[in-house]
């Protein structure tokens, strides 16, 4: 079984988000980039398939050389080989097109993306890849087993869950639940050492195109002061929620 995990580099979840003075892009000063959390769940499941079922695990990231440290981290966690697709990831369409080109070249049984990346929250890359490559697609995937060319999965739906069956090749949108939080791997020394010598190939994409353009960014307006209510005065809270906020 050959697996590709698509990984995006996103600001660490503790980051305060600021934009450049011209409001045209993210101000990256002081921001630490990490593996997108949804992708990390996917990567961990892929490494499980490697350990339990002998899968070969590749990763791919669309981005400039600055993303290589997080790719090395993914190799240290257990991926075998990495492809950096060398272009600026300006929107989900460009990213999906660049990845699909690579997927068609290599052909995979399973492609794992995060259900969304927590920076631009696009929600579209896995669905676009599945359509471009003609693979089946299961989103918000919280469980996946593979037996031969058959896959069984669970998916989170609004207010519940669903079990599904399909055959490979398959694209999934990974999220929390696919593996337990406690199974997430912190790379150990051996992993980090071996990651240095694992292949990281730089690929030039043919000519992927963005279909959207972010014209400008802005931060949310700062919030007003909280109205504090005395512990013994719960009637006042109900009154305020009813009359002032009008939510009761």
């Amino acid at each position: 079984m050959k697996i590709l995990v698509c990984i995006s580099a996103v600001p660490d979840t503790t980051s305060k988000i600021n934009f450049t003075a011209d409001q045209k892009s993210l101000d990256t000063s002081g921001i630490q980039f990490v593996i997108n959390p949804n992708d990390e769940f996917g990567l961990t499941r892929a490494v499980w398939f490697k350990e339990q079922q002998g899968a070969e695990v590749h990763i791919a990231t669309v981005g400039e050389a600055s993303v290589e440290p997080i790719m090395r981290k993914a190799l240290a966690i257990g991926a075998d080989k990495a492809f950096r697709i060398d272009t600026h990831p300006s929107d989900g369409f460009l990213v999906a097109q660049a990845l699909s080109e690579q997927i068609k070249k290599e052909t995979y049984d399973l492609v794992i993306c995060g259900r969304e990346s927590i920076d631009y929250n696009g929600n579209m890359v896995p669905g676009l890849i599945a359509s471009h490559c003609g693979y089946s697609f299961i989103n918000t995937c919280t469980g996946l087993t593979i037996d031969g060319d058959k896959a069984a999965a669970t998916r989170e739906i609004d207010g519940g869950s669903e079990t599904l069956e399909t055959s490979l090749p398959l694209v999934i949108g990974a999220q929390k639940g696919l593996v337990e939080e406690s199974d997430l791997k912190i790379p150990n020394m051996r992993g980090i050492m071996s990651a240095r010598t694992k292949p990281l190939e730089v690929v030039t994409p043919s000519n992927p195109k963005a279909l959207t353009e972010d014209l400008s960014f802005e931060k949310p307006a700062s919030k007003g002061e909280v109205t504090l209510i005395e512990e013994g005065n719960i009637d006042q809270l109900i009154e305020l929620l009813h009359k002032e906020a009008k939510v009761l």
Partner: protein, 319 residues
Amino acid sequence: MSVLVYLESENKAYKKSAYELASYASAIASQLSTEAIGLVINNDTPESIGGLNQIISISNESLHTFTAERYASLLSAAFDKSGAQYLVISSSADSKYIGGMIAAQSGSSFIPNVIALPENIEGKTAFKRTVFTNKGFAYTSSKSDRCIIGLSKNSFGVHENDVTSKVEIMTFELNEDRVTVTNQTTADGKATIADADIVVSAGRGLKGPENWHLVEDLAEVLGAATACSKPVSDLGWRPHSEHVGQTGKPVATNLYIAIGISGAIQHLAGINASKVKVVINNDPEAPFFKAADYGIVGDAFTVVPQLIEKLKVFKAQNA
């Protein structure tokens, strides 16, 4: 170039989100001086909704359960056939599933998490959307003539309108889906985080799963959905499906009540789109007080039972 809007159904009736979606689509259509057309699947007698001029109703036995490939190809075929400029979809799990697939099949672009009507920026039509999980906004324009708009829940509101929608029945050829649904589990009759007007959420401050009756009782009085912070689901006190925040479910509800939650940046990012936030926490320094509209500094184990009792009285008086 009309505006098409996909209105989701549940038990052969509109889902709650459909009313906001139809209102939004009608508003874009009137900005563009064109028509708004609803698309309805498996709701045989769709009522007039949100000022739509026309509703295309598609019924087919095999569409009873949602399967992504079928629904995506159907919506993409309808989008192509209608010649519409925009296709508006909701932010439900199902619509997020198929957004990218429809975009690929119809060759259109897709702007998700939109929270407002389009405006003109630098001569381009721009849609305001949330990015960085509510830590910022982007004004995004489409480079393609046709574009799918994913509307965030609770961002536009429902605007009543008494236009009568003309209903037209359409049939489409459907292919088999390669993914089959073998089983579905939903908590029937319980409000869901995706749909509820009120969400009651608790964190590690509740000390253990045995105390969650407080959360459930409060939710029941309010007809609210229940949610929790990440560590609570990691500890197994509550199911993962209740985890809200930057790495869990987003919440955009009218009223969010946080009990014993400190208000870490990852938690706040995920719930910030909620209109009114109430915090109950015994630590006056808890960061949640900076993000909330109303707060009580106090012990959850004394405040919440009182709140439940007082709300019961309030509900009885205002029923």
